[in-house]
Assembly symmetry: C2
Homo-oligomer: 395 residues x 2
């Protein structure tokens, strides 16, 4: 790279204000729901001892992990997910964290993924987990929270798919991966893949058929009941007998959330994993959790037009055309308005162009001892008194 | 390190819920003020090409920077501050960012500092900068925002110190560093240091004296006027003729904020730096900004007892003692309450202990077909109807 060339690393992103603002809107909406269910924030460091992270994500994980030796000769690694750090926290602060521990965690993770597949190397993970309970109430609560999150974001056709990972007991991981693709490639596609993996065609179709026709397990039925009894619409939750979720650390129920009007894959997923969080504690710590697919959710919201048009942003530009401009701007702020003062030179045309380019809807202009409020959309401007300004802006 | 031992790297921190919640409170308060002045969010990646960052922070910076070679053989470095990335952004997206560009940025930075001095290796920076204007209005606005921030956080005795870095023209950087310590070590201390640095005692005292007695520069006086004319109390802003700020990249006014009732140093600082942001653009881009000392501000708030006692946290625990518990919890949430449902087993004593340990003030108990609300502080419990619950909790 040319040292004087300003560019980001491949797979890494800048978020300019218009995007950063939308990301923040999603996060604030999600956090409000998490908090309303008593979930609490947790943050862990970006760097951990390498030994904490390696060997926890399979060979693929160790390969994609950002690892290096720091200035003090320590082997360190960058956050790869938020579950292993959670396992560390649960062990390290066992005495300070009464169980069940319900936490949300919203931090970036780092994976040296192939960027040609459109993957990012730094991306935000939004996780909620309930640690320390085997009760199906915990599973049901996670489902409720996620449904509530997407409802709060404005999704109209959201659905939670649910299955029991134990339905696949006795089936190889490699076959499970194929079965999981049923929706994408259809029964023939799955059968073909299974045949490639050593099944004869008849057995493959029988296996698939038996899975599809199986009734929900007792646990699935129980959790669906718990969610609906808690006041959620039954149509929002659907038994999906071939849903498998790739990760083989799930030990019970698994979930995936999708929007029927956004047919590009699930928006997030999770499930019960009772054998993972104890790795540093030396005892079994049951857990159930969910990871919101943040980038996917953002894309879906763009696609479906779910971002509010009045996302918190500057409501008025006060032009630098009068010595009292600063004071008037502050008075409006004290009344709760979001107001920018143009701080550079006094040329009015330049200031109007600035407001236009930034999409600021109203501009305050001082001229001949009078105040004018200009509506940038219509181009109209009218004289206003200082006292009537708040009311005028509220319109 | 023993692989099975759960611990964080030295200089890195976990933030458990009670701390994370307070950090979030500070950030939300600051962001509200930033937004009210039309400042916009910006995020940049954790990793940059090494060449973007090296050579920008002096030898010390290059030494403390976390740098490594990634899996693809690229030399990369971890965010060291938010100013150099801002310079990159301003060059890279010149066409998309109308100037003046006012942005806030709140991300972690990484420095391999000596942890024995109580320094952290990963810490949050909270920066605001106005890019692309030389107007003193921009300086005055930054000062207003910071005063407003600390006022919003509840600080009663906040003061902004201000000086003009150009007052030190012709004085060596090494001497400036000593003069900057006047408040800490007194005039004799400064004179002694200057003598050690080659001044004769008489010259040292004369220099210090002339600085102390100098009137505010025209720029300082102008900006103080602008801030007071904008509605801020004159007592909140004070000319400090020996204030220097260590960094030699400042080119004009410099500021430092301190709380008179927290005598452990400044809570943040900033100033005008007109020669830095153009490094990737090849042209001069004036700027003025401020960095809130986040950890210091947090400590001061703890010390001064400024965190609200009712910081957003769970208001009631609904015990798992009735099948309708989930539904009732959801009804309360729909009315805006923050409610946790106990999801584990049904033992009531255990649930009360849990509420107590987590500091949840109210507990809902179902017994013999009745609902009881227990006040955890007084220990009193009384029967309530489902309909009266919201009103009872509001009390």
């Amino acid at each position: 790279m040319d040292m004087n060339q300003a560019q980001t690393l491949k797979g890494f992103r800048d978020f300019l204000p218009n995007v950063a603002r939308k990301r923040e809107y999603i996060l604030n909406t999600l956090k409000k729901v998490f908090i309303s269910y008593g979930f609490e924030p947790l943050e862990t460091p970006t760097l951990e001892y390498e030994e904490i992270l390696t060997g926890k994500y399979g060979d693929e994980g160790d390969k994609l992990m950002y690892r290096f030796v720091d200035n003090g000769g320590r082997k360190v690694a960058m956050r790869y997910d938020q579950t292993v750090p959670l396992a560390r926290v649960v062990a390290q602060y066992a005495n300070d964290l009464p169980l069940p521990f319900k936490r949300y965690q919203i931090q970036n993770v780092f994976r040296a993924e192939n960027t040609q597949k459109g993957r990012y190397r730094e991306f935000l993970q939004v996780d909620i987990d309930t640690v320390g309970s085997q009760s199906p109430l915990a599973d049901a609560e996670i489902i409720q929270i996620i449904l509530k999150c997407y409802e709060s974001l404005g999704f109209k056709k959201i659905k939670m798919l649910i299955n029991d990972r134990r339905n696949f007991d006795g089936i190889s991981n490699s076959a499970i991966v194929s079965i999981d693709k049923l929706k994408k490639i259809g029964p023939d596609g799955v059968a073909n893949e299974l045949v490639e993996k050593g099944y004869n065609d008849n057995d493959a179709r029988k296996l698939l058929d038996s899975l599809i026709k199986a009734p929900p397990s007792g646990k699935v039925a129980e959790v669906i009941d718990l969610v609906t009894n808690a006041g959620f619409d039954k149509s929002k939750i659907e038994f999906s007998p071939t849903l498998a979720r790739g990760l083989d650390y799930y030990t019970g129920l698994i979930f995936e959330v999708e929007a029927e009007d956004y047919p590009y894959g699930s928006l997030g997923g999770g499930g019960r994993y009772d054998n993972l969080l104890g790795i540093f504690s030396g005892k079994e710590i049951p857990a159930v959790g969910f990871a919101v697919g943040f980038d996917r959710t953002y894309e879906a919201m763009e696609e479906l037009g779910l971002f509010p048009t009045d996302l918190i942003k500057t409501q008025a530009l006060v032009t630098n055309t009068n010595p009292a401009a600063s004071e008037i701007a502050n008075q409006l702020r004290n009344k709760g308005f979001l107001v920018e003062l143009y701080v550079d030179d006094k040329d009015l045309e330049k200031q109007l162009k600035y407001a236009d380019k930034k999409g600021i809807p109203y501009v305050l202009i001082f001229k001949d001892g009078k105040i004018f409020l200009k509506d940038m959309k219509s181009g109209n401007q009218k004289e206003v008194s200082e006292g009537s300004l708040p009311d005028e802006l509220r319109r």
